[in-house]
């Protein structure tokens, strides 16, 4: 791992964190994200390392509207990820298997919050028509927020919006997805439950990873590599 002293200190805080305490998560995650936001050369090094590293390269995901790069996979369960939203990105209202803190490095997105999945009560799923936006925000460059895993939300992103995320350990094995067009909702299981074919379809190829790196450079999201990494 390429973390220097400052980043290692921030990473250590995350290892001993109570991932049910949103204030503590925000307090511990924000310094790491802010340092990497300010030090785009170091971020550049992390992305290059993530693309070349055998373990991390197997964790990157590619979809037609989203690229996810895993920059760090901590043994304690948290991960540092870079998300790059392609033109036309929007997703269906969903929640997560984990709590996360996100910092917008470039671009912006409309963030619609519908409330906790506790609104399901005893029901297994929900009629998407019953979802009511409780807050609509614009998350823009420099913004940081923490979202609890139960929160149902949706994002519509401007092209090439890029965010850096501290993703906490998974606390459940499935997440809720709702489709307001078809009127269906369902629980989707994580990677461990996917068929090899499905997992392979989501895995980012090395070629795609290098293309993502080029695009991040072209858009100015990454600064020049550090001298140490260039040597």
């Amino acid at each position: 791992m390429l973390f220097d002293t400052d980043l290692a200190e921030a990473a250590t805080m995350l290892r001993t964190l109570d991932w049910t305490d949103l204030a503590a998560i925000t307090h511990a995650s924000t310094p790491l994200l802010a340092v990497l936001d300010a030090r785009r050369d170091t971020l550049h090094d992390l992305v290059v390392h993530a693309i070349e590293d055998d373990h991390l390269s197997g964790l990157h995901e590619h979809y037609d509207i989203l690229d996810k790069l895993v920059l760090h996979d901590d043994t304690s369960g948290w991960r540092l990820r870079l998300h790059v939203f392609a033109p036309g990105y929007f997703d269906r209202p969903h929640n997560h298997r984990w709590t996360y803190t996100s910092r917008i490095l470039a671009g912006s997105y409309t963030h619609t919050l519908y409330g906790s999945d506790e609104l399901l009560g005893d029901r297994e799923t929900i009629d998407p028509a019953q979802l009511t936006p409780r807050m609509v925000r614009t998350e823009t460059t420099g913004d940081t927020y923490t979202l609890q895993h139960t929160m149902i939300h949706a994002i519509t992103a401007q092209p090439h919006t890029t965010s850096l995320i501290v993703r906490g350990p998974a606390v459940k094995d499935r997440f809720l997805v709702t489709d307001q067009v078809t009127g269906h909702s369902w629980w989707q299981y994580g990677a461990a439950h996917e068929s090899p074919e499905t997992a392979a379809a989501k895995r980012m190829t090395p070629q795609r990873a290098r293309a993502t790196l080029r695009r991040l450079r072209e858009h100015g999201v990454l600064g020049p590599a550090t001298e140490a990494a260039s040597a």
Binding site: Y63, F90, D91, V177, Q188
Partner: protein, 131 residues
């Protein structure tokens, strides 16, 4: 509105527009139009704020790309063109809304747009994004 055989239910008495400082009332306006006219979707365009649609499935929103506006004459027509062409090509309503906003913004920026780029399906097409 209200005189077309396509829309036999009259819209008399129904507001059909907003001024700039009434953007917050757009969801109510869309709902009102939807219930009075009974279309598949009632769409309200919001200029630089994008557009929203009221459907039987609820409310959908799409932001507009950020552009430097040269002029706004014909912006609504450009939105409608992008929306209709994309919908007729078999896309979903969110995709059509996005295309409408994209073409409307490009028009306002004075960009020559000769074709609407196909937009992706939500959550990665055949692959559901891991959340």
């Amino acid at each position: 509105m209200g005189r077309s055989p396509r829309w036999p239910r009259p819209a008399w008495g129904c507001r059909v527009g907003l001024v700039a400082n009434q953007v917050g009332q757009a969801p109510r306006l869309a709902a009102d139009l939807f219930h009075r006219l009974g279309p598949d979707a009632a769409i309200v365009t919001l200029g630089r704020f994008g557009a929203l649609a009221h459907t039987t499935r609820g409310l959908l929103r799409t932001p507009a790309p950020t552009v430097t506006v040269v002029h706004t004459h014909g912006a609504g027509a450009a939105f409608s063109a992008g929306y209709a062409q994309t919908l007729l090509a078999g896309a979903t309503l969110p995709e059509a809304l996005h295309a409408g906003c994209t073409l409307g913004s490009a028009h306002c920026a004075g960009s020559p747009v000769t074709a609407i780029q196909p937009t992706p399906t939500p959550n990665g097409g055949p692959c559901v994004i891991r959340h």
